[in-house]
């Protein structure tokens, strides 16, 4: 989190990662809606079209199912495609391809074929885009055997995970929270590849573990600051990988703090937070001094007005309150 080096945004870090991959491996290409001439709906790919041309920065028609499936096919055919789906809400149109093909072909073929595909998509709320553009369904992807799922939260992870994902022989889905694109921070000049399977402890603490990922990481860190003021030392765990989950790091933290709160922007019922709570139940029950808490989104399609959107999402005071509650305060 405190690498010295050049300052860049999360968006730029992603762009650098894509640029590097394109330069490094001729099999890599990027495809999706408006990734080329338009520069990407969140401007991640801006400039790459001019640099790499229409074959490698490939604009697609509005056909999420076909171009995602084409990415699977291209991966089978020896390429290393990066498919960009504008937001996770639209990815439902491609979910059949991802679940029924990308995630199963290796198994169904008895290991003969593998699908080295990377799918990137934006997720999350915070921009007042309302009920069809704001959801956090990454937990669904984390449910599917055959997929790997990551959610880089830091500049370093945004820069370093793509290459690792592209080197992976199996399909990897990368979730980029919309509120992170403009965040900036320093990136060490020699910052290299980042593994895509492990969680990271972003802040050490002894009293309660705040377990989170993606856009909620910074809220959790803020909450930890606030808790510090009250003399509560919160540890913050950034999952980074949503599938597989890094049980060792999670249980390591809970084993130390004996209390945990999970922060997850998905709707509460059936959230990824539930899975983590269930795992702590199974693996660390006897170490718990209090029930594990969850701070999730309210069960409502995200409403348009700022104040209602804010109210629907996990916020710092909610995290602070949930952490306090585990300490009986």
């Amino acid at each position: 989190m405190s690498d010295a080096g050049v300052e860049m945004t999360y968006r730029e870090a992603l762009r650098e990662a894509i640029r590097e991959a394109l330069n490094r491996d001729p099999r890599v290409f990027l495809m999706g809606e408006d990734v080329g001439r338009y520069g990407g709906c969140y401007a991640v790919t801006k400039g790459l079209y001019d640099e790499f041309g229409p074959e490698r920065i490939r604009d697609t028609p509005l056909s999420e199912s076909a171009f995602t499936g084409a990415g699977i096919g291209a991966a089978l055919g020896g390429m290393r495609p990066i498919v960009e789906i504008m937001t996770v809400n639209f990815s439902l149109l491609a979910l059949d391809q991802i679940v029924n093909n990308a995630a199963t072909i290796r198994h169904m073929s008895g290991g003969q074929f593998n699908v080295p595909l990377v799918i990137r998509m934006a997720t999350g709320a915070g921009k007042q885009l309302a009920a069809q553009h704001s959801h956090s369904l990454e937990g669904w992807y984390a449910h599917v055997p055959g997929l790997k799922v990551v959610a880089p939260a830091t500049i370093r992870d945004a820069r370093g995970m793509l290459w690792t994902a592209l080197e992976d022989p199996d399909p990897v889905v990368i979730f980029e929270h919309v509120m992170l694109y403009n965040r900036s921070g320093p990136l060490a000049a020699d910052a290299g590849a980042v593994p895509i399977t492990g969680a990271a402890v972003r802040r050490e603490g002894t009293d309660v573990s705040l377990i989170t990922y993606g856009g909620s990481l910074f809220k959790a860190l803020e909450a930890a600051d606030a808790l510090q003021q009250e003399g509560i030392a919160a540890e913050v765990v950034d999952l980074r990988s949503l599938r597989p989950l890094d049980d060792a790091t999670i249980m390591g933290s809970v084993g130390k703090t004996h209390r945990a709160v999970i922060v997850d922007e998905g709707w509460r019922t059936g959230s990824l937070a539930a899975e983590i709570s269930a795992r702590i139940m199974e693996q660390a029950f006897w170490a718990l001094d209090a029930p594990v808490g969850r701070v999730c989104s309210a069960e409502v399609p995200i409403p348009y007005p700022r104040h209602l959107e804010d109210a629907a999402l996990p916020q710092v005071p909610d995290i602070v309150a949930a952490a306090r509650a585990t300490l009986g305060r």
Binding site: D34, G36, P61, L62, Q128, A131, Y304, P305, L308
Partner: protein, 329 residues
């Protein structure tokens, strides 16, 4: 312009059409300003340049008919008769908005006029339009469901499935494709192998025609003819309206994908410009009348803005209201 019909056009109707288009234009211009002032947030897609389509097509509908549109639907809402006041309040996310403030610009709804708004999933409302029409047919009602969408939507699977269903079951749907040549930054010939969208419709045996979408009369004439056929039980009809958006796709967009000269050339064909000039040439409208019309609309807009400004916000306690049907408090 489609003179034969225009000769029979009476002055009142011409004034009605012009006013309809102007109301949309001014509303959109004001929305753009309000966006800059941060009164309106989220995505905002303006209909400027395309007014002739909504206004022309809506002439063919009765109050019992239904309308489905997209995220670029302020114009359709106004042409359908939704008051400017509740529309503007919706832009503000206020309780008095036409969707109770929950939807914002992309999700305008109005039960009274069977306006099913407002979908931000490209192509997502075509299946719904088919179903609404099916309900009308099954209930023996002579109603039309008009469904507006962009040419970009024609690439989506939902387009294909919906056209086939409507044709197969001979349902009373009027499909109106607003072909403005771009889907965000993707030019039509980069998204479709067949760029004549109406030919696609024909491949489902849906009678289809291509219309000058900058000519309000041409649109009205075609829509009336199509709607009459539909009401006669002849099954679905399809209009491809050739048009152009004069502004960015949404509020932020560097428009690198098209050049200024192209935009300028289309502006010269603008629906309001041409129709206004024609009315003046034929003596239907003098400068003073036009000024009066503008003044009227400006007053209506001021009132709408005042209404929106003065509207109450939804209380945060009501966050999860209307997720399920419950007795309203």
């Amino acid at each position: 312009m489609s003179t034969p019909d225009k000769l029979h056009l009476n002055r009142d109707h011409a004034l009605h059409l012009l006013r309809g288009m102007l109301r949309i234009r001014r509303f959109e211009e004001r929305c753009a300003e309000l966006y800059t002032e941060e009164k309106i947030r989220g995505f905002l897609h303006l209909y400027i340049g395309e007014e002739a389509i909504a206004v022309g097509a809506m002439q063919s509908l009765t109050p019992e008919d239904a309308v489905c549109a997209t995220y670029r639907e302020h114009g359709h809402a106004l042409a359908r008769g939704l008051p400017m006041t509740t529309l503007m309040a919706e832009m503000y996310g206020k309780r008095a908005g036409c969707s109770g403030g929950r939807g914002g610009s992309m999700h305008l709804f109005d039960a009274a006029s069977r306006f099913y708004g407002g979908s931000a999933i490209v192509g997502g409302l075509l299946p719904l339009a088919v179903g609404i029409a099916l309900a009308d047919k099954l209930q023996g009602r002579q109603r039309v469901t008009a469904c507006f969408f962009g040419e970009g939507a024609a690439a989506e699977g939902a387009f294909h499935e919906s056209l086939n269903l409507a044709a197969l079951w001979q349902l009373p749907v009027l499909f109106v494709c607003e072909n403005n040549l771009y889907a965000m930054g993707t030019a039509l010939d980069r998204s479709e192998s067949e760029t004549h969208i109406f030919r696609k419709a024909e491949s489902y045996r849906v009678p289809a025609e291509s219309v000058d979408g900058m000519d309000v009369i041409a649109v009205e004439v075609a829509a009336r003819r199509a709607a009459a056929d539909i009401r006669d039980g002849a099954g679905p009809r399809f209009l491809e309206c050739l048009t152009y958006r004069f502004r960015a796709h949404s509020m932020f967009d560097a428009q690198l994908y098209r050049d200024k000269a192209e935009v300028e050339a289309w502006k010269q064909k603008g629906p309001i410009l041409r129709f206004g000039q024609w009315m003046q040439e034929t003596g239907m409208l003098d400068a003073a009348e036009r000024d009066a019309m503008e003044a009227d609309i400006a007053a209506e807009l001021d009132e709408a803005v005042a209404f929106a400004e003065g509207g109450a916000a939804e209380p945060v306690e009501e966050l999860t209201r209307d997720v399920y049907t419950e007795p309203r408090s």
